[in-house]
């Protein structure tokens, strides 16, 4: 049985996607390869090799690599500690709900929180100064890649906690008991059983975190105000006309971002297919 209503809704959904998602994306690819006179050219992609744009890609990649790594390690350890047998039961619900909040507390408000805390006039900065520790004199800056990594960790770590709980729970206690019965030490269990089983989900989580940092815009915009060029802030500068550069450069930068994200997603799909091997239904 086919109802016209069903056809209507399916076609409507697909049409909205094609018109407002696929078409704008295709438009970017087209815009990036035609100059103002409508002639085909690769000069805008070649322009990405200029210092300004190349360094924005470099900064974005470094920031995403660093904050994803910090997020995976710290978030993984927190999730691991919370799921221990003798951890209090309330701890788990507190950590879960706080993580859900903090993972969604990104963008401009997050940037201002950290400016109020660790900015040049931040409360913690001043407090540490009264104790004789001048962090800015010691080389720290909130407005650097390191500072941005710290700020990004505030949403990356909770994101990791949320993603990683299910993977950790899939580690079956019987595997551990079997290893112990066969005389394995804790170290041997983790090296030979735990980590190999978790490795694909760890990598998949890392890739997701990488993507979330790579496409983040609000936090960086409010924090860097041009000090550090990131791809997202470069694109917005082109779009808002703050810098003198052709719109094609913005399109080429956007296509570059999409290419990075496609590669990231392909890698993630490969790895989660591997991870699925071990998640046998119990």
């Amino acid at each position: 049985m086919r109802s016209p209503l069903a056809v209507f809704f399916i076609v409507l959904f697909l049409a909205v996607n094609v018109l407002f998602m696929l078409a704008p994306t295709a438009m970017l690819a087209i815009q990036a390869v035609f100059d103002d006179d409508g002639a085909f050219t690769l000069e805008y992609f070649q322009a990405l090799a200029q210092y300004q744009y190349a360094s924005s890609f470099e900064n974005s990649l470094i920031l995403s690599l660093l904050s994803a790594t910090v997020g995976v390690i710290a978030g993984g350890l927190i999730a691991f500690a919370v799921l221990k047998d003798d951890a209090p039961r309330w701890l788990r619900s507190v950590v879960t709900s706080f993580s859900a909040v903090a993972a969604n507390f990104a963008g401009v408000p997050l940037a201002f929180s950290f400016i109020a805390t660790l900015g040049t006039l931040g409360l913690l900065t001043k407090l540490l100064k009264t104790w004789g520790i001048d962090i800015y004199a010691a080389g720290f800056s909130l407005y650097s890649i390191g500072g941005l990594t710290l700020v990004y960790s505030y949403f990356q770590i909770p994101l990791m906690v949320i993603i990683f709980f299910p993977a950790l729970e899939a580690l079956r206690p019987s595997w551990r008991e079997a290893a112990e019965n066969l005389g394995a030490s804790t170290w041997q269990y983790w090296r030979l059983v735990g980590l190999p089983v978790l490795a694909p989900s760890l990598l998949a989580a890392w890739i997701l975190l990488f993507g979330s940092a790579f496409s983040a815009y609000g936090t960086a915009y409010a924090l860097t105000s041009g000090n550090i060029a990131l791809v997202t802030t470069e694109i917005s500068a082109v779009l808002s006309g703050n810098v003198v550069s052709e719109p094609q450069i913005g399109a080429a930068l956007s296509v570059g971002m999409i290419v990075v994200m496609v590669l990231v997603l392909l890698a993630s799909n490969l790895l989660s297919a591997r991870a699925a091997r071990w998640s046998v239904k119990s």
Partner: protein, 256 residues
């Protein structure tokens, strides 16, 4: 034994310090009135600013409109796709993945390149509902997909039809009730995400709540801190809603 030793506690305490410090500092900073004086000044100023309420009201309207668009466009399409056109599933999966692959800033670049008119579409703030639909799409798709997989749609539909129910009755009385928690969960998540959304609104020059916070922050850090505290509490309220509504209820019918 799998015990939470000294190391485990150390990790948790360090994490607590890292996550609580900025909140406490920001809250304290929002009460700062210069010198050694602390008080409610920045909150008072904000409460008397009509722009705050205008921008917050706009963001609330946009959130509600985006949730509505998402539910009206996505839920029926997914139900019908599962019932009549399961072969379209890969297409739907692809559409739900695209917003991950095309970052917000790239989508807004594409939208501005493609649509330079008509004015009734791009001139109103409700144009933002278009990109916000895609912001919520991946989450809502996942949640509703899980919800649909947890019920045996084909069997339920056949059972309903053999009992003489029309398709509309089946969807209204059987399918939608079992999707309620998935729909509520994705609705609240979309509300929270759209309410604080900055990228699209900032580039397309609409005065939403997040754009307002950024404007305030350029000249008054204590007021910006006050607004940051307020948005943290708002995010928390929305997420508590997600946890309570999304986690508490099991589907009422079906199951394998």
């Amino acid at each position: 034994m799998n015990r939470l030793g000294l190391g485990g506690w150390a990790i948790l305490v360090l994490a607590a310090i890292f996550f609580i410090t900025p909140l406490v500092m920001t809250a304290t900073f929002s009460f700062w009135e210069g010198g050694d004086r602390y008080g409610f000044d920045s909150y008072r100023i904000l409460l008397h600013s009509p722009k705050l309420f205008e921008s917050a009201w706009l963001s609330i309207q946009l959130s509600l409109a985006s949730v509505l668009a998402l539910l009206v466009l996505l839920v029926p399409a997914m139900i019908f796709m599962n019932l009549y056109a399961p072969r379209l599933r890969p297409v739907f999966e692809f559409m739900a993945t695209l917003p991950f692959v095309v970052p917000a800033i790239a989508l807004v670049a594409g939208l501005s390149a493609l649509f330079t008119g008509p004015e009734w579409l791009i001139g109103t703030p409700f144009y933002l509902v278009v990109p916000y639909f895609f912001l919520g799409l991946p989450y809502a798709y996942r949640a509703i997909d899980v919800g649909l997989k947890s019920i045996d749609l084909d069997t339920l539909t056949e059972a309903g039809q053999s009992l003489g129910a029309s398709l509309g009755q089946i969807i209204r009385l059987v399918v939608l009730p079992s999707l309620r928690s998935a729909m509520l969960g994705s609705a609240l998540l979309t509300l929270a995400v759209v309410f604080g959304e900055f990228t699209f609104a900032n580039v397309l020059l609409f005065h939403t709540y997040a754009v307002y916070i950024n404007e305030i922050g350029q000249h008054d850090p204590t007021e910006a801190a006050a607004l940051s505290v307020a948005s943290f509490l708002l995010t928390w309220a929305a997420m508590l809603g997600v946890l309570v509504l999304g986690g508490g209820r099991r589907p009422a019918v079906g199951g394998r």
